[in-house]
């Protein structure tokens, strides 16, 4: 089976690990070989959380620079920072809602403007898809669903062998009951944002 490599980058607290767990469960349902690794050293203290997921018959659980087929960034600055994982053919999906790091938030560093972030990414990779995941998450019913909105966008671009059906099942199974409906809506909004 063709190997596909996915990087997810986020800021601690954005639910990246849950998103990758859901995606992994979905792949398992389809009997797609999947492995992932995560580095979340000080996630809860505002650091960056990165997960690597590899679909297909590979044994490695990490992804070298230049080797990601697709990258999903939950925060635009972090998407740009992680761009070295991509190559000129990679697909990149990023949310455009900024979460400025503390230094930039207090004016001791400059958060690049959104248009220049987008163009710096677009110039370098095969395809860039942007969406405001925070707005869509709110529309779905909870700001906490940013992760699932982005999961929807990821499935809609059709790079991975994982289907929407199996992700939806995994959402029902993995996320709390009270939250599943909101997450399913978030998933659809994320998918629609890409298809539009």
């Amino acid at each position: 089976m063709n190997i596909k490599r996915l990087i997810i980058v986020a800021v601690g607290g954005q639910g990246n690990l849950l998103a990758s767990k859901v995606l992994g469960e979905a792949a398992c349902r389809q009997e797609i070989p999947v492995r992932m690794s995560e580095i979340h050293g000080m996630a809860q203290r505002g650091g960056v959380v990165e997960s690597a997921m590899i679909f297909g018959d590979a044994q490695s659980t990490i992804i070298s620079d230049g080797e990601a087929d697709i990258m999903v960034g939950f925060e635009p600055l972090e998407t740009l920072r992680a761009i070295k994982k991509c190559n000129s053919k990679s697909t990149v999906i990023t949310s455009t809602s900024p979460l400025p790091p503390f230094t930039a938030a207090i004016g001791k560093g400059v958060y690049p403007d959104m248009e220049s972030i987008k163009s710096m990414i677009r110039q370098r990779v095969g395809r860039l898809i942007t969406l405001d995941a925070n707005v869509l998450a709110k529309e779905a019913g909870s700001e906490l669903s940013v992760n699932i909105v982005l999961l929807g966008a990821l499935i809609a671009v059709d790079v991975l062998p994982v289907t929407a059906d199996s992700v939806q099942e995994a959402i029902r199974e993995t996320t709390k009951k009270s939250f599943a409906e909101i997450n399913l809506k978030a998933f659809d909004l994320g998918r629609a944002a890409v298809k539009a």
Partner: protein, 616 residues
């Protein structure tokens, strides 16, 4: 029921490496487990802790790794299958127990898990604990994946019982923190109580007994060597004329590289999973007819040394390489692309490396370093120490925990750190070897772990140091595990006692002890000033529970603060305190109400009293 207790053999689950390891131990009939938490091993014990609340498994968070190993050693010598879990540097703490336990051995299986951390994602060094196998003489098993780790735990127990000695199971971060599908096996019914058969002439390690036991250890080594040579964890794949010897995660990178380079017919692979003793005879068999061999291992040239010595015994002269300026580094972790490139260049295979995007033209991006949480009491305490120590030349040894982050600006407090508990011992040294005042920081859990002997030393040798104990009622950094100072009843956990830090400190005979609430800045500064003026050992105990824990226990009561129009933009709040709830909008300082925990510290330091609670 805990998901790792699911009794459905054959069922597939998507498990974190650490969960797979815990499951492996449960399947092996684990009866007893002990630990001191440490990343990347912590989830193994977190699962055992939960499982122990709903099964017969005995589990404890011990005060440090040495105690944990002693506890487990006794259980194993009572015939109970036991596991002791720690991070790599934890084994240094446990090493005193380990070295002689290797002589004494065990009756029931004892598996000691050491989680190494190449690249130091969350550690102070990246030591290679395979050398502990050599040093102690004990067997080491090393998995290449979570699935294999699960099986290996079971095998490690059998091996331990067969050899009647502990077995080290060595993982690295990428095993512990990778997730993959794992198939559940049968759960063996655990034996949780055994008996200890007295046999002092084999158990009490006076010199005459130890001389005998060392002979036994070396005999065991011979048996272990035979087992390693025939172990299914040491296997050869393929039959090319080039050889690659690899272990752990490197094996995965090698397998992927050989496939990506399309050189399956040119390369044979020796995967080492039973790495102490190294399988000498198998290595010699592998090297036979091998034109060139490459050793791929993260960390030290542990296997490379063994492979070269095995080759030398047989008079093989073909090249064997591993570490070197153009080959592999002893530093940090490997990755698949890097291993692929080195294999291609070493054996002369054609290879067009992936081209990462060009980064030129991307400006320096603002960093996102980890930061103490909004409302963290450590920030308040550090601010108070900075104020109290103004004008006093001083050195501030710090210690291991969230509070280590205090060394970053703007608080910039923390000058020296080597290991758990070192703030107290090094503080003693700095106070004698310099003319500066010493202010040492230590967390509550670290104090129990290894701060107490240093403090006793300080009192006995009459050092002039101020020790600030940051007591936030938990082991925050590794995920909020309990420690002896925690009120377990408050957490609705029965069967524990509580050790008061204050009583310990006073019992040691510290001359000046002050208890403070760090959120009260004025009082804190005064208390620290008083402690600094005291000649001799003084201790300030700052008590305030971790806000992140309080948040997850839904115990946060504070109302958020905001910046009123009295603000004259001095920015002390940002420049001296740096709580991450602050941000600047235009040129105005603002507080993010969603992050603010209402600790009120910034309000106390604002010279204009401009920071006030949000009105409902």
């Amino acid at each position: 029921m805990h998901k790792l207790l699911t009794d459905k053999p054959g069922e597939k689950a998507f498990l974190l490496g650490n969960e797979a390891i815990a499951r492996g131990a449960i399947e092996a009939g684990l009866g007893f487990a002990s630990t001191y938490p440490g990343t990347p091993s912590s989830e193994i014990s977190a699962n055992f802790f939960q499982i122990s609340r709903e099964s017969d498994l005995y589990f404890e968070y011990s005060t440090n790794e040495k105690v944990a190993l002693e506890v487990a050693a006794a259980a194993a010598n009572s015939g109970v299958r036991s596991m002791c879990i720690m991070k790599h540097v934890g084994v240094n703490v446990a090493a005193d127990a380990l070295m002689t336990l290797a002589y004494v051995g065990v009756r029931g299986g004892l598996v000691i898990l050491t989680a190494d951390d190449p690249f130091m994602f969350s550690s102070q060094n990246e030591q290679d604990n395979r050398y502990y196998g050599k040093l102690s003489g004990l067997p080491i098993l090393e998995p290449s994946s979570g699935e294999e780790a699960k099986e290996m735990v079971d095998h490690a127990f059998d091996l331990s019982e067969r050899l009647q000695e502990p077995v080290l199971l060595r993982t690295t971060t990428r095993i512990n923190h990778s997730t993959s599908p794992v198939i559940f096996g049968k759960i063996r019914k655990p034996v949780t109580k055994g008996d200890f058969a007295k046999d002092p002439f084999n158990y009490v390690t006076v010199p005459a007994v130890s001389r005998k036991l060392h002979v036994k250890l070396l005999k065991n080594y011979e048996t272990a060597l035979e087992l390693s040579n025939s172990s299914s964890y040491n296997f050869i794949e393929g039959n090319g004329s080039f050889g690659i010897i690899c272990n752990g995660v490197s094996y995965n990178y090698v397998k992927d590289a050989v496939r990506d380079l399309d050189v399956e017919n040119k390369i044979k692979i020796l995967r080492i999973g039973f790495s102490h003793p190294m399988p000498n005879a198998l290595i010699q068999k592998f090297l036979q007819g091998c034109q060139k061999a490459l050793v791929v291992e993260e960390g030290e040239p542990y296997m490379e040394e063994a492979v070269k010595s095995a080759a030398q015994e047989k008079g093989f002269t073909n090249p064997i390489n591993g570490k070197g300026p153009d080959l592999f580094s002893r530093l940090f972790e490997f990755d698949p692309g890097m291993v692929r490139a080195k294999i291609a260049s070493y054996f002369g295979f054609a290879y067009a490396p992936a081209a990462p995007v060009d980064l030129t033209g991307i400006p320096d991006l603002p960093q996102r370093p980890p930061n103490l949480c909004a409302g963290c009491s450590h920030r308040a305490m550090f601010y108070a120490v900075n104020k109290a120590a103004e004008g006093i030349p001083n050195i501030r040894p710090t210690d291991i925990g969230c509070y280590t982050l205090g060394f970053l600006p703007p608080l910039s407090t923390g000058d020296f750190l080597i290991c758990m508990g070192s703030s107290v011992g090094t503080g003693c040294g700095f106070s004698k070897a310099t003319n500066k005042k010493v202010i040492s920081y230590i967390g509550d859990s670290t104090f129990f772990h290894s701060g107490i002997p240093g403090l006793i030393n300080a009192v006995f040798n009459n050092h002039d140091i101020t020790l600030v104990i940051l007591d936030n009622h938990t082991t925050a950094m590794t995920g909020h595990q309990p420690h002896p100072g925690v009120d377990m009843q408050e957490l609705k956990l029965e069967g524990f006692n509580r050790v008061s830090i204050e009583s310990v400190v006073k019992g040691i005979g510290v001359g000046h002890v002050a208890m403070i609430r760090p959120y009260n800045i004025k009082k804190s500064i005064a208390a620290i000033r008083e402690a600094l003026a005291y000649k001799g050992v003084s201790v300030v105990i700052a008590q305030q529970s971790c806000v992140l824990m309080d948040k997850s226990l839904k115990k946060l009561r504070g109302k958020p603060f905001c910046v009123s129009d009295r603000c004259k933009n001095h920015r002390n709040c940002i420049n001296d305190l740096g709580c991450p709830a602050f941000y600047v909008e235009g040129s105005a300082v603002r507080i993010n109400a969603a992050l603010c925990t209402g600790c009120g510290v910034c309000a106390q330091i604002c010279p204009e009293h401009a920071i006030v609670p949000v009105k409902d």
